[in-house]
């Protein structure tokens, strides 16, 4: 559905008397198959939106190629636009227009008839829990409703591929969870392919079949959320020994199975252990044999936060 090779975009910053080149996206390869939900994850300024704008024909790449829904973004932009829906970060409706009219006009700009636009619009309002809001102005809607209206706008022409740019930014947790259900349904009930950007790890984890991690304009990882978590970080094993004097001995034993450096503080010893489920039994036996009593033992699966930290050396929350 999406095949990009070496897609790059350089912006020319205008400094005082000198020319700066800012590499927003430095040559990315992306492959998305039909029916996938793929998350595009990265901090602000990593190049997510720029990549998305290139794939949706809003921005011309300075290098590389991309075919989207079977058409070349550079030479067949009109065909690409017909086949895709794009829900941008900034919204899509005038605050003082009426929701139903906005979606009908939008549909008609895609070339569908007035009647078709109305029936599709009403159907989408039903599916996205927007019943009764046909005459409502977007300025009188809640954030979640407005976001769902944006999604309805992006779906009015029944696209096979939907781009969602940070769909849940600024929503409260309940509205986010609700929107996630709707996004999953896009694929499950309509068979649409979904490509979404997010800087929420839990969102990528909950929604996506596959995650692409982008940082400084390059893709640094691409895999399923589970594989990413397995591959990069290992599970965190945390031991609390009953007697702090035995902490060093416990650390030694843990160190034998650990992947990375140990962290020890008082009676607490922790380390990343690859495949902890497998190693933990031996570890406990070893501790037992050495006569080390445990206060507690905890195994934490890595979060995507850990993955991100591991891949880029910084936390996702330290926004650029």
């Amino acid at each position: 559905m999406i095949h990009a090779r070496g897609l790059a975009r350089t912006f020319e910053g205008r400094g005082r008397g000198r020319k700066d080149e800012v590499k927003a996206v430095a040559g990315v390869d992306i492959d998305v198959e039909t029916g996938e939900i793929v998350g595009f994850l990265g901090p602000n300024g990593a190049g997510k939106t720029t990549t998305l704008r290139m794939l949706t024909t809003l921005l011309k790449p300075t290098a590389g190629t991309a075919t989207v829904a079977g058409f070349d973004v550079a030479t067949q932009s009109k065909e690409v636009r017909k086949s895709i829906g794009y829900v941008s970060q900034s919204g899509s409706t005038s605050p003082e227009a009426r929701a139903g009219e906005e979606i009908m006009d939008h549909g008609m700009l895609y070339g569908i008839s007035r009647r078709q636009a109305e029936s599709r619009g009403r159907e989408l309002f039903g599916q996205l829990d927007l019943e009764g809001l046909w005459e409502r102005k977007p300025q009188a809607m809640s954030g979640g409703q407005r976001r769902r209206l944006d999604i309805a706008m992006g779906l009015v022409h029944d696209p096979q591929l939907v781009f969602l740019d940070e769909p849940t930014t600024g929503l409260d947790p309940q509205a986010r969870a609700n929107l996630w259900t709707h996004i999953s349904e896009l694929r499950d009930t309509r068979g649409a392919t979904v490509f979404l950007t997010t800087h929420y790890l839990d969102e990528a984890d909950a929604l996506c079949d596959r995650i692409l991690v982008i940082d400084h304009g390059s893709i640094v990882a691409s895999d399923t959320p589970d594989a990413l978590k397995r591959q990069v970080a290992g599970d965190l094993v945390e031991l609390v020994v009953a007697d702090a004097a035995q902490a060093a001995a416990a650390a030694e034993l843990l160190g034998r199975v650990a992947d990375a450096e140990l962290a020890a503080e008082g009676a607490t010893v922790s380390a990343r252990v690859r495949g902890a489920g497998h190693e933990i039994a031996g570890l406990i036996r070893g501790l037992d044999a050495a006569g080390i009593a445990l206060e507690s033992i905890e195994v934490r699966r890595p979060t995507l936060d850990d993955v991100f930290l591991d891949l880029t050396g910084r936390s996702l929350r330290e926004d650029a």
Binding site: T93, S94, Y110
Partner: protein
């Protein structure tokens, strides 16, 4: 396809505007205020300015002013739309980018047309007499000028994307144009140097042409110059506007 898209954009713009009472009322009150508050001041001066009827001098100036200033500020609405994501949402549809611009300009042109009719109609009550075909032609010229300004204003809005940049730019254009085009008073009463400066102002020729048209002089060199300048500005405005709208990442 192109005209259908243009019409969809136009109808959407008009619908939103008509629901805004401020847009309707201010649009209609503007010409009325000028006539009522400024017209009486000019009436006693008409003779010294070389006009038989004060309003054939005054109404063409007001028409051009409406055309210039109403339309020049049309771009502000586009910035708000851009911020709401509307422009981007429209640009991701297969619709022609020129249609997105033209639909917007048509709304501004319609507003200008209605304002012009109200202005001329009211002026009759105040005592305007002159050539009706000339007035119609004058209105057409005004509308073309307005279309050029609206296109340029939309282009500027899409380039700057900021009211804070656009307002000073427009004001710095609008003030000299207003003063040097003889919109309110004909330039002929000014000193030589001022007249020479105003010779470089295309809108002066347009105002003069509409004045002649109002009095029924169709085939004069002044009228010709006014029509030529109107067409030049119209073409230039549409060119700049469509180029900006077609540009990527705008």
């Amino acid at each position: 396809m192109f005209w259908r898209e243009t019409f969809i954009v136009f109808r959407r713009q008009l619908r939103i505007a008509l629901r805004n009472p401020a847009w309707v009322i201010i649009g209609l009150v503007q010409p009325v205020l000028y006539l009522c508050l400024f017209g009486p001041l000019l009436e006693p001066l008409a003779g010294t300015l070389g006009a038989e009827n004060a309003y054939t001098l005054f109404v063409p100036g007001l028409l051009v002013q409406l055309g210039l200033f109403g339309a020049l500020f049309a771009g502000f609405g586009l910035i708000a739309e851009w911020r709401a994501g509307v422009v981007e949402a429209e640009r991701v549809t297969p619709a022609s980018r020129t249609a997105l611009l033209l639909g917007r300009i048509l709304r501004d042109v319609l507003q200008l047309f209605v304002q012009g009719i109200v202005l001329i109609g009211l002026a009759f009550l105040f005592g305007l007499t002159g050539s009706i075909p000339g007035m119609i032609l004058g209105l057409v010229i005004t509308v073309l000028l307005g279309a050029a300004c609206a296109a340029a204003s939309n282009a500027l809005a899409l380039t700057t994307k900021s009211e804070d940049v656009m307002a000073p730019v427009l004001n710095s254009i609008a003030l000299p144009v207003l003063l040097l085009s003889g919109i309110l008073l004909p330039m002929t009463i000014g000193p030589q140097w001022l007249q020479v400066v105003s010779d470089f102002m295309p809108t002066k020729y347009i105002v003069n042409a509409i004045r002649e048209l109002f009095t029924g002089d169709f085939f004069t060199i002044t009228t010709l110059w006014g029509v030529v300048w109107t067409l030049v500005l119209f073409a230039a405005g549409l060119y700049v506007g469509t180029r900006t709208f077609r540009k990527e990442n705008a």
